[in-house]
């Protein structure tokens, strides 16, 4: 099949995708890198000058930066903990011989298809609102005073919303992995008298290890970029209590018009994302051979 003619044709067929993605990667990133060394504010574009490392130093010395890095970590790890543990539990539950498995699957997967602004607004208004939300109704029913979620626990509230959106993803992938588990092996272990927790620890968990890794890595990529959920609920506040790195950079660029500072923040975000990406590429790359 690999004659010279078909190889030439193959190169021609590959070229547009490769060129487009190459430009998409290199041009904006190069511009970000360049801007990160400029004193450049959109409110005062005439005063643009070379800044050296100033933007990085400024970003680094800003207390909001450390708050944002911390919040990013808490957000990512919090959502990962809920979705992975919850996902394993729910996947095992759905995998049991139950009636209506198809419908249960559909109900569980649904939140994943809800766009982020809608998910956040549903939770903000229908569920967590201190006077009209369902949680407030429940609290009043038990005689407790309702919690003002976004004022008292802004970051926790956002973690709950994002976890709700990503729990279906984790569940679906872990369920797919679970269903490829050899039932004969499980039966053999059961006949040999292995108790349920031993079967889970030594058979189920090792079998799902790869899927769990994939869930963690892919979710991390998306969770580092959480934006709309914060925008429509807390707007990053109170103060910087629910500002993550993405939101901090957005504020610098769009609200402070600080092009240089936002670009320096962007480069820091790229470095962070790349640390995660290296691991993901290894996990996925192994599957290619």
């Amino acid at each position: 099949m690999a004659t010279r003619q078909t190889q030439g044709l193959a190169r021609l067929m590959r070229a547009p995708a490769i060129i487009l993605l190459f430009l998409w990667m290199i041009v904006p990133l190069g511009m970000t890198l360049y801007y990160s060394f400029l004193n450049y504010n959109l409110l005062n574009p005439g005063m643009t000058s070379w800044a050296g490392w100033f933007n990085y130093q400024y970003f680094y010395s800003d207390p909001a930066f450390f708050a944002a890095i911390w919040n990013t970590l808490v957000l990512v790890l919090g959502v990962l903990a809920i979705t992975v543990i919850g996902g394993i539990a729910i996947a095992m539950l759905i995998d049991k011989p139950i009636w209506g498995q198809g419908i249960v699957r559909i109900l569980v997967i649904s939140p994943f298809f809800v766009m982020p602004p809608v998910a956040a607004l549903i939770w903000k208004n229908m569920i967590m609102h201190p006077s009209y939300g369902v949680l407030a109704d429940i609290a009043r029913f038990f005689g407790a005073s309702p919690v003002d979620w976004f004022a008292q626990y802004p970051l926790t509230s956002i973690i709950l919303i994002v976890a709700w959106q990503w729990l279906p993803f984790a569940t679906l992938i872990l369920l797919t992995a679970l269903q490829s588990l050899d039932t004969e092996q499980m039966e053999a272990a059961e006949m040999d008298g292995a108790p349920a927790h031993a079967r889970f620890l030594y058979l189920v968990l090792p079998h799902m290890a790869r899927a769990i890794t994939v869930v963690i890595l892919i979710q991390t990529i998306f969770l580092l970029g959480i934006y709309a959920e914060i925008l429509v609920t807390t707007n990053g506040g109170p103060g910087f209590a629910s500002t993550n790195l993405t939101f901090l950079i957005y504020r610098a660029a769009r609200l402070n018009f600080d092009i240089g500072g936002a670009a320096a923040g962007g480069i820091i975000a790229v470095i962070l994302a790349n640390l995660v990406a290296i691991f993901l590429m290894r996990a996925v790359g192994r599957n290619l051979d």
Binding site: A10, M31, I106, P111, P116, G225, V232, N287
Partner: protein
């Protein structure tokens, strides 16, 4: 599972699974229910039975000009996906059927572009859009969404195409099929299911995109994700109306999503979990 399970255990698991499933689905269900209430009912405390009024749907459509963002969503999601397919089908085809030593590296590199955080290129993309007049235009956003999803499209198509056995081509050639016949009658029918799944998943991803749509639109090109985000303050839209707008924004994609569960796993894990 092949094991015999007692009926009681089965009932127990079924009840538990349905309870968890309904709990997870509850926010969506309650939104649909609230969208059928009047505004007074909507804030009158917990109530699962609405008065089944379509008032809110009518108000959202007449007052908030719902159809413009809806049309924008359709154009952006479908347009960017079709554009991506036009570029990706030949590329994935070439990589699957005449792979070279570098094919794997190229695929990994494509995947790596997906790892770039959107916010890192917010500044340059925003400035480019501002200076070239692409700001708040459908064409600008369509191209951008196409670029964002291109790596996933190439990857998904590649994993599907790779499953088409090469022997079938040889067999066709032995029977005297021309290259045109090969593509038209042998490969295309086998490739269509993969292309359809890719199309479906990417429409879902593009429809739900909410970073760039919010950054790069105001009114003209704003799709539903940006439209709904503008109602973050409750005075803009009351409970029942917010629910109606939300229900209309998620219903089409929820239904598409239910049909593409299996492809979702494969597409979003880049073939790492099947």
């Amino acid at each position: 599972m092949a094991r015999a399970t007692s009926k009681n255990a089965r009932i127990g698991w079924t009840v538990a699974a349905w309870f968890v499933a309904l709990l997870i689905f509850f926010p969506i269900l309650y939104t649909i229910i609230t969208s059928l209430k009047t505004e007074q009912e909507a804030i009158a405390g917990f109530n699962l039975i609405p008065s089944f009024t379509l008032e809110s749907y009518q108000t959202v459509q007449s007052q908030n000009n719902y159809w413009r963002p809806f049309t924008n969503s359709v154009i952006l999601a479908v347009g960017s996906t079709l554009l991506a397919l036009v570029v990706a089908i030949p590329a994935a085809w070439a990589m699957a059927f005449s792979p070279t030593k570098r094919t794997k590296d190229i695929l990994m590199w494509m995947l790596s572009t997906k790892m770039m955080p959107a916010v890192a290129v917010l500044v340059p993309i925003y400035l480019i859009f501002l200076r070239t007049g692409l700001m708040d235009t459908r064409i600008g956003l369509t191209i951008l969404l196409m670029l964002i999803n291109l790596p996933i499209v190439v990857w998904m198509l590649y994993t599907y195409f790779r499953e088409i056995p090469g022997e079938i081509l040889e067999a066709a050639r032995m029977d005297g099929a021309s290259l045109r016949d090969e593509i038209l009658y042998v490969l295309t029918p086998m490739a269509v299911p993969g292309i359809a799944s890719t199309l479906l998943l990417n429409i879902i991803l593009a429809w739900n995109e909410a970073f760039w749509t919010i950054q790069l639109t105001t009114t003209n090109a704003a799709p539903l994700s940006a439209f709904i985000a503008s109602f973050s303050s409750p005075q803009g839209l009351f409970w029942a109306k917010l629910s109606a707008a939300s229900t209309m924004a998620i219903a089409p994609i929820l239904i598409l999503g239910w049909f593409s569960q299996k492809q979702l796993v494969r597409g979003l894990t880049f073939g790492a979990v099947k």
